[in-house]
Amino acid sequence: MKDEKGTKVSRRNFLKLSGISAAGAAGVLGGGLSGVLSGPREVFAKEELKVGILDPYSGPYADSGREQTNGALIAVDEFNRKGGAAGRLVTTFQEDTATNPGTAVQKGKKLIDEVGVKYIVGTVASNVGLAVSALCQEKKVIYMSVGCHSDDITVGDKAHRYTFRPTCSNTMLARATASYIAEKFGKKWYFITSDYSWGHTGRDAFKKVLAAKGGKVVGEDLTPLGTTDYSSYLLKVRNARPDVVIVSLYGNDLVSCIKQFNQFGMRKEMQIGGPLNGLEMARVIGKDNNCGYWGMPWDITVNTKGSKTFTANYKAKYGKLPSWRAFLGYVGMQQLLSGIDRAKSPDPKKVIVALEGHSFDGLKANKSYWRDWDHQCIQDTYCGRAKSGAEVKDPDDLFEIVAMKKGDEVAHTRAENPVKLEAL
C-alpha cells in the first residue's frame, strides 16, 4: 500500500510540475484541473523518462532514506523545469527497501520488470546496495548507489559496470578522518563496529590508517544492526582505557551509542569518532550530547556557490536544511540525468559512456569526477567536528569541517583496487 502511495505522490508531483510549466508556457494559470491532469500527461506519456528510486523509508535508516529521496527530487525538479533530460520529462517511482537486501531486490525487480525503469537511484545500507548492484548489472540497468559507503561497491569483484557511486568510499572517509584523529588525540583505539559490510570496511579502513601511523588496537566489538543498549560494550571500552573509541555505527545505532557514551561520562575520558555522522542523527542526539570527529561527504557549511544554491532550494522546498544524505541524493540524480542529457539518449550503455571520466561541479571547492575504471566519484572528502552546548547557535548548526582532503589523495589507487569492470 505504501508503495502505491509513493508512486502516486511522485506522479502527482510530476503532473503538478508539468502542469505548471504547461500553464506557464500558455500564459494561463487558471487552466483548470482537467487541463493539468490530462493535457500534458498525454503529450509526454510516450516520452517520459522513468527513474526508480529505492530508499529505506522504514527500519533503522528510514530518515536517511527520506533525505536522499528529497535531495534526488530537487534534481528532478531542476531538469523538468527546463524540459527534462534528453528532451524527456522525468517521472520517478519510489519504493521502500526497508533496509533489507531481499526486499530491495524484490522491489528493484518490480521497478525494472513491471514499471520498465532503466535507471535506479538510491539505497543507504551497503549490504542492500550490493544486492541492488548485482541485480542492476544482470538487468543492464544503471544504478546510482547514492548512499552506500562500503568499499565493496567500487572495490574488488563486487564492483560493476552499471553501478556508479556518487559518495565517498569508507577508505576515503577514513583517510580524511583517521589521520586527523590519530595526530590530535592519540593512537590507542578501541573499535565498536556494526556487524555488516559497511561497518567492517569502515573499521578496516581506520585500522589501516592507524597501523600506518604506528598506533595500537586495544580492543574491539561487533554489535548487531539495531542494537539499542551499548552500556555493556561501553563498560568494556572504559576498562581498556583507549585514547579514542572508533564507532562504525550509523542511524539509530549511532544515536543510542553516543547518547550512552555521554551518560556514562566517558566524554571526559576519551575522544570518539568514526567514518560517518550527519545532521539527521546529530539532531536526535541533541546538542548537549553531540561530540566527536567524523567523516562527512558534505556539509551545509561547505562554502561554494553550488552548495549555497542547493541548500537554498532544499530549504525552500522542504522547510529545513539538507543533510549530506540529501546532497548525495541530489548529486546522484543530477549526474544520472545530465549523463542522459549528454548522451542525448535514454540508452543506458550510451549514458555509461557519457558518465565515465566526466568531470563536474560537485558543489565542492575542487571539481568532482567519475573515475572510468571503478566508477568511484572522486571528490573532496571532509572530517567534521560535532559541535555541542553553547557553541550551537541554531538547531542545524551542529558540525564544523576541520579537515579536507582532495579525492585523489584519499581514494584507492589502481594498485590498491584489483577491480575489473565488465565489458559493455
Binding site: A62, G226, N252, V255, S256, Q263
Partner: protein, 290 residues
C-alpha cells in the same frame, strides 16, 4: 580480568534487566488472565516514549512519567474493549494475528504522527550526572530507574497480594472462568488487567526513552527479550518475571564481556534450554506448555 569489571557488568546486567522485568510483568498478567499473546506490547512501549515527549514539553519529565503511562493504559483499555475482547476463548492464533497486525498498524500511526526520524529526549538535569559506585562510575539516571522499578515491583506485589482487587486479578490468572462463576464481573476485570499491562509497557517506554532515544521501531528491540523473559520465568508468574528479567540482563551483559560473538544469541539459547528441561518455566504452573 579485573574483579571490578566483572562486578560492573553484573550490576549493569541487573539494571538493564529491570526494564525487561517491567515489560514482562505487563505481558505476563495479560497472557495469564486472558490467554492473549499481546504482540502490540512493544509498540505500546514506544507510545509511552512518544507521549512522554509530548507531555514533557509542557509538564517536564516527571509530569510525563506520571501521565504518559496512564494515557497508554487508557489506549490499551480501548483496544481491549474494541478489538482484543472479540478473540477471547477462540484459538490463540486469532489473538496472535490480531495483536501482531495491531502492532504494525500502530507503528505506522507513530510514523504518520511524529515522522520516521527519531526524537531527542533527555533525562532531567540533576539525573544526568554519574555516581561513584567504587567499582565504576554509573549514570545517575540508570540508578534512579533501577530504584524506581524496585519500588514499583514492591507496590505491585502489595497490590496483588494484599488488596481484594489484586486477589481477584491473581485468581483470574489461575482460572478466569471460575472467577466469573463466583460472580466477579470478568468483563471489567479483563479490561482492567489489559489496562494495567499496557500501563506497565508505557511506563517502561518513558523510562527507556532518555537512554536510547525515541524512534518508531524502539518497541521491536524489546518485545522479543520480553517474551523470552516470561518463557524463562513461567507465564503468569510474578516472581518468574522478576527472575527471568534479571537473568536475561545478566546473561547478555556477561556474554558481551566474555563471548561477544554469542551475545545476541545467548538469550535464545537459554530460552531453548529452559524449554527443553522445564517447559513451564522456572516458576510457571504446569499445564500451559506441558
Amino acid at each position: 580480568m579485573e574483579l571490578s569489571l566483572l562486578l560492573s557488568q553484573l550490576f549493569n546486567g541487573i539494571a538493564t534487566g529491570m526494564l525487561y522485568v517491567l515489560m514482562a510483568m505487563g505481558l505476563t498478567i495479560i497472557m495469564g488472565t486472558m490467554g492473549v499473546v499481546n504482540f502490540s506490547h512493544g509498540v505500546l512501549f514506544a507510545f509511552g516514549a512518544y507521549f512522554a515527549y509530548l507531555i514533557a514539553e509542557k509538564a517536564g519529565f516527571f509530569g510525563a512519567l506520571l501521565m504518559a503511562p496512564v494515557v497508554v493504559g487508557m489506549i490499551g483499555m480501548v483496544l481491549e474493549r474494541g478489538l482484543v475482547a472479540r478473540v477471547y476463548g477462540k484459538d490463540p492464533l486469532y489473538g496472535l494475528l490480531l495483536t501482531f497486525g495491531l502492532a504494525m498498524a500502530l507503528e505506522e500511526v507513530i510514523r504518520i504522527g511524529w515522522g520516521t526520524a527519531g526524537l531527542p529526549f533527555s533525562a532531567p538535569g540533576f539525573l544526568s550526572s554519574f555516581i561513584d559506585l567504587k567499582i565504576m562510575f554509573y549514570p545517575a539516571y540508570r540508578l534512579a530507574v533501577l530504584g524506581f522499578i524496585l519500588l514499583l515491583i514492591a507496590a505491585l506485589w502489595f497490590f496483588l497480594e494484599r488488596t481484594t482487587t489484586g486477589k481477584i486479578v491473581r485468581a483470574g490468572i489461575q482460572d478466569s472462568v471460575m472467577v466469573g462463576i463466583l460472580g466477579v464481573n470478568t468483563k471489567a476485570l479483563f479490561t482492567g488487567v489489559f489496562g494495567l499491562g499496557t500501563f506497565l509497557a508505557g511506563l517502561a517506554g518513558v523510562l527507556a526513552a532518555p537512554m536510547a532515544g525515541i524512534m518508531p521501531t524502539m518497541g521491536d528491540n524489546v518485545i522479543m527479550p520480553s517474551f523470552i523473559v516470561i518463557i524463562l520465568g513461567g507465564i503468569g508468574s510474578f516472581w518468574g518475571s522478576v527472575t527471568g528479567g534479571l537473568m536475561l540482563g545478566i546473561i547478555v551483559s556477561l556474554c558481551i564481556q566474555f563471548v561477544p560473538a554469542v551475545a545476541e544469541l545467548s538469550m535464545y539459547l537459554v530460552m531453548a534450554l529452559v524449554l527443553l528441561v522445564r517447559p513451564r518455566g522456572l516458576f510457571g504452573e504446569e499445564g500451559l506448555f506441558e
